[in-house]
C-alpha cells in the first residue's frame, strides 16, 4: 500500500466489511454516552430484546442537564431530573460504567473521556454528540452520531458509513502572544466556512499544531464540527503519549509499551494525498471574536463588524443582515467597542485546567467590570475543579467577582438553569453562537478563555495580545 493519511490508517484498521457502493461496516472501540441522546436508544434496545454488544466499550456521564450550583439539592427541574435518572437506571440495568452526577470524576463527556484515558490513539470513538470530534486530538477517529446510531453501536458495536474525503489543515509557524488553539479554530472556520469541511475528515498538521498541548489540540478538534467536518484529528507524538501515561483507562506496564509502539505509527505518511489542503500562517492569526450567529461570522479583535452591503453573494448578505439585527450590532463598529452583559468560561471546548489557568492569569488581582451582570467559570470536570482549587484558581476568580461553579455543559447550550435572557450579550468560550443557543434571544460572542476573562474585566472586548 502507498503513502497513507492518518485517516486512511484509522479507517482501514476498522473496516469489518464493505458493500458494493462503498458503504462500510466500521467497528467502534469506545462509545461515550450522556443523558440527552441515549434514552431513546436504550429504549429501542429493550423493545427489541437486545443487550449491548460489548458493554465494556461504553462509558456514561450525565453532563447537559446537571446543575452547576447547589448540586447536593439534586436537579430541581423534574423533566431534566427524569432524564438523568433514566441514564442512571439504564446504566444500572445494562451494567454500563457510569460516572454519576456526584462522582468527583463527573464532568463534560468530552473532558472526562480523555482525562480518564478512555480515549486512546488508534481508536474509533463515538458519542451521541457532535463535539465528539474533540477526541480526534489523540489520533483517534472520533465523530458524533444520532440516537439511532447510538442504538446501532450498542447493539452491534459497529456503524454503517461511507468514508469521507480527507482535508489537511496546515498551520505553520509560531502563534503570537495571547493567541490560542481557540483562535486557530475560529480562524480556520472563518477561512473555510461552517460548511467548508462538510464531507471531509480534517487532519490538523504543521508546526503550530505540533506545538499545541493536548488540551489545545482538543480545543481545535472540538471545533472541527463547526467547520462542518464530523471528525478532526491530529497525529500522535510525545505530547499525546505523555498525556496518556498513567491515566486510569490507559494500558499499563508491558502492554503500554506495545501500545506506544503502535501509536507512533499514527501519522500521515510522507507524500500521503489529501483531497483538499488549506494553509494558514500561524503568525498572522490574531485573537478572534465572532460577531454573528454562525461561527464563520468571525473577525480579529482589532477588526470591525463587517458591512453586509459590501457582500456580493445575496444569501451571505441576507444572512449577515439578519445576524447583525439579531446581535444588535452596527456594521463597521470596532469589535473592541462591543460591550457585554455576561461572561461564560466553560464547555467541552474550553473548560480544561489550562483554560482555567489562562483565564485566572488575566483575572488575577482585577475586578469584573460594573456592567457585567454575571461572569461564571464552569470547570469541565470534578477533577479539573479539584486541580484548579489546589492551585488556588478558584480564589482568584472569586476575588475578581466571578462565580465558581460545578462541572457540566452549563451555558454552552443552556439546558440547565444557566442561560442568557433575551437581548443579553455574552463573551463565551463555548463553540456555537447560533440564535437562541445560550437562551432565547441571547447574543453569543465566541472567544478564547483569555479573551473572555479580559472582556469580563474591561466590560467590552479587548485585545489580549496587547494586555
Amino acid at each position: 500500500m502507498g503513502a497513507q493519511t492518518l485517516y486512511d490508517k484509522l479507517w482501514n484498521s476498522h473496516v469489518v466489511r464493505q458493500e458494493a457502493d462503498g458503504t462500510a461496516l466500521i467497528y467502534i472501540d469506545r462509545h461515550l454516552v450522556h443523558e440527552v441522546t441515549s434514552p431513546q436508544a436504550f429504549e429501542g434496545l429493550k423493545l427489541a430484546g437486545r443487550r449491548p454488544w460489548r458493554v465494556a466499550s461504553m462509558l456514561a456521564v450525565p453532563d447537559h442537564n446537571v446543575p452547576t450550583t447547589n448540586r447536593a439539592a439534586g436537579i430541581a427541574d423534574p423533566i431534566a431530573r427524569l432524564q438523568v435518572e433514566t441514564l442512571d437506571s439504564n446504566c444500572a440495568e445494562f451494567g454500563v460504567n457510569e460516572l454519576k452526577m456526584n462522582d468527583v470524576r463527573q464532568g463534560i463527556v468530552h473532558v472526562v473521556g480523555p482525562e480518564q484515558g478512555a480515549t486512546l490513539p488508534g481508536m474509533t470513538v463515538v458519542c451521541g454528540d457532535s463535539h465528539t470530534s474533540t477526541h480526534g486530538a489523540f489520533a483517534a477517529l472520533a465523530f458524533g452520531i444520532g440516537t439511532s446510531e447510538v442504538e446501532h453501536v450498542m447493539a452491534t458495536q459497529c456503524l454503517l458509513m461511507k468514508k469521507s474525503k480527507a482535508m489537511q489543515v496546515l498551520v505553520e509557524g509560531a502563534l503570537g502572544k495571547g493567541v490560542t488553539a481557540k483562535d486557530v479554530a475560529l480562524a480556520v472556520i472563518g477561512k473555510i466556512g461552517t460548511a467548508g469541511g462538510t464531507g471531509y475528515a480534517i487532519e490538523f498538521a504543521g508546526s503550530a499544531i505540533r506545538g499545541l498541548s493536548m488540551e489545545g489540540r482538543m480545543t481545535l478538534c472540538n471545533m472541527a464540527i463547526e467547520a462542518g467536518a464530523r471528525a478532526g484529528m491530529i497525529a500522535a507524538d510525545d505530547t499525546t503519549i505523555d498525556y496518556l501515561k498513567s491515566r486510569p483507562f490507559a494500558p499499563q506496564a508491558e502492554v503500554w509499551d506495545k501500545a506506544v509502539a503502535y501509536w507512533r505509527t499514527l501519522h500521515s505518511d510522507e507524500g500521503a494525498r489529501f483531497d483538499s489542503v488549506v494553509k494558514l500562517d500561524a503568525a498572522q492569526i490574531k485573537p478572534q471574536v465572532t460577531w454573528g450567529t454562525s461561527p464563520e461570522m468571525v473577525a480579529a479583535v482589532d477588526g470591525r463588524v463587517p458591512d453586509p452591503a459590501t457582500m456580493s453573494d445575496a444569501v451571505k448578505r441576507e444572512g449577515a443582515e439578519r445576524a447583525l439585527h439579531y446581535m444588535g450590532l452596527k456594521a463597521n463598529m470596532p469589535i473592541t467597542e462591543i460591550k457585554i452583559d455576561k461572561v461564560f468560561i466553560g464547555s467541552c471546548t474550553n473548560a480544561r485546567i489550562e483554560d482555567m489557568r489562562a483565564a485566572a492569569a488575566i483575572a488575577k488581582g482585577k475586578r469584573v467590570a460594573a456592567n457585567v451582570k454575571l461572569a461564571m467559570v464552569v470547570p469541565g470536570s470534578g477533577l479539573v475543579k479539584q486541580q484548579a482549587e489546589q492551585e488556588g484558581l478558584d480564589k482568584i476568580f472569586i476575588a475578581a467577582g466571578f462565580e465558581w461553579r460545578d462541572p457540566g455543559c452549563s451555558m454552552c447550550l443552556a439546558m440547565n438553569d444557566d442561560r442568557l435572557e433575551p437581548g443579553e450579550r455574552c463573551a463565551s468560550t463555548s463553540n456555537r453562537n447560533f440564535e437562541g443557543r445560550q437562551g432565547q434571544g441571547g447574543r453569543t460572542h465566541l472567544v478564547s478563555p483569555e479573551m473572555a476573562a479580559a472582556a469580563a474585566i474591561a466590560g467590552h472586548f479587548v485585545d489580549v495580545s496587547k494586555v
Binding site: H14, T23, T156, R432, F434
Partner: protein
C-alpha cells in the same frame, strides 16, 4: 422505519442558509426521553411569539404570523425547501424527529450538514441535494405560485415540477434501498454477526489494550 417511495407534496420555502439544529428543535425540548411528539415545537423560537417550554399547550400559544410555516398557504406542507448547510450544529436526532412529526417527508437544499443528513435516513425522511441554481429556481417558483407542489420519486431519483421540469438527484444505493423498503439498520447489520465477531477477535489480538 417508515418506507419512502413516492410523494406528491406541498412545498414550503424556508429562505435561510445555515439553519442549525438548535433552531429546528431548541434545547429545552431535548429533555424528553421519548422519540415522538416534537412536531409542535419544530422551529419553536421562530414559530411562536412567546417562549416555549415542554408541557405547554402549543395550540394556545401565539403564532408568529411572519414565519413562513405559519402562513395559511403552506399549511400541510410535506416538502421543506431550504438553503445551504441545512441541519448544521448539534447531532440531536430530535431535529429529524421534529421535522418528521411536523409532517415533512422531504427536505431539499443545496447542501446539508453530515450528521443531520445521516440522521434523516434513519427516520424515513429524504434529504435531497440539488444544485444551488436549481434550488434558487424552486424558491422563485414556490413563492410565485400558491399551492406549489413537487412530485418526488425515490426509485427514479427525480423531482418533477408542475411545469414538467424534472430534476434528477443523487442518493447512495444502500440508503435508497433501506428507505424504499423501510429497513431497520440494526437488523441488517446483525446479519453479519460472524464477520463482526471475526473482526473483533483479530482486533483484540492486535490491540489488546482496547479490550481491557
Amino acid at each position: 422505519m417508515n418506507k419512502f417511495s413516492l410523494l406528491n407534496g406541498l412545498v414550503v420555502p424556508l429562505d435561510r442558509a445555515n439553519v442549525d439544529t438548535d433552531a429546528i428543535i431548541p434545547k429545552q425540548f431535548l429533555k424528553s426521553i421519548k422519540r415522538s411528539g416534537f412536531g409542535p415545537n419544530a422551529f419553536d423560537e421562530w414559530r411562536y411569539l412567546d417562549h416555549g417550554e415542554p408541557g405547554m399547550d402549543n395550540s394556545k400559544r401565539p403564532l408568529n404570523p411572519d414565519f413562513v410555516l405559519n402562513q395559511p398557504r403552506y399549511k400541510g406542507a410535506q416538502i421543506l425547501l431550504a438553503r445551504e448547510n441545512f441541519g448544521c450544529g448539534s447531532s440531536r436526532e430530535h431535529a429529524p424527529w421534529a421535522l418528521e412529526d411536523y409532517g415533512f417527508r422531504v427536505i431539499i437544499a443545496p447542501s446539508f450538514a453530515d450528521i443531520f443528513f445521516n440522521n434523516c435516513f434513519k427516520n424515513g425522511l429524504l434529504p435531497i441535494r440539488l444544485a444551488a441554481e436549481q434550488v434558487d429556481a424552486l424558491f422563485k417558483a414556490v413563492e410565485a405560485t400558491p399551492g406549489y407542489r413537487l412530485k418526488v420519486d425515490l426509485e427514479q431519483q427525480s423531482i418533477a415540477t408542475p411545469d414538467g421540469t424534472v430534476y434528477k438527484f443523487e442518493v447512495e444505493a444502500f440508503r435508497k434501498h433501506c428507505l424504499l423498503n423501510g429497513l431497520d439498520d440494526i437488523g441488517l447489520t446483525l446479519q453479519h454477526v460472524d464477520e463482526i465477531k471475526a473482526f473483533e477477535a483479530k482486533h483484540r489480538a492486535a490491540q489488546p489494550w482496547l479490550f481491557a
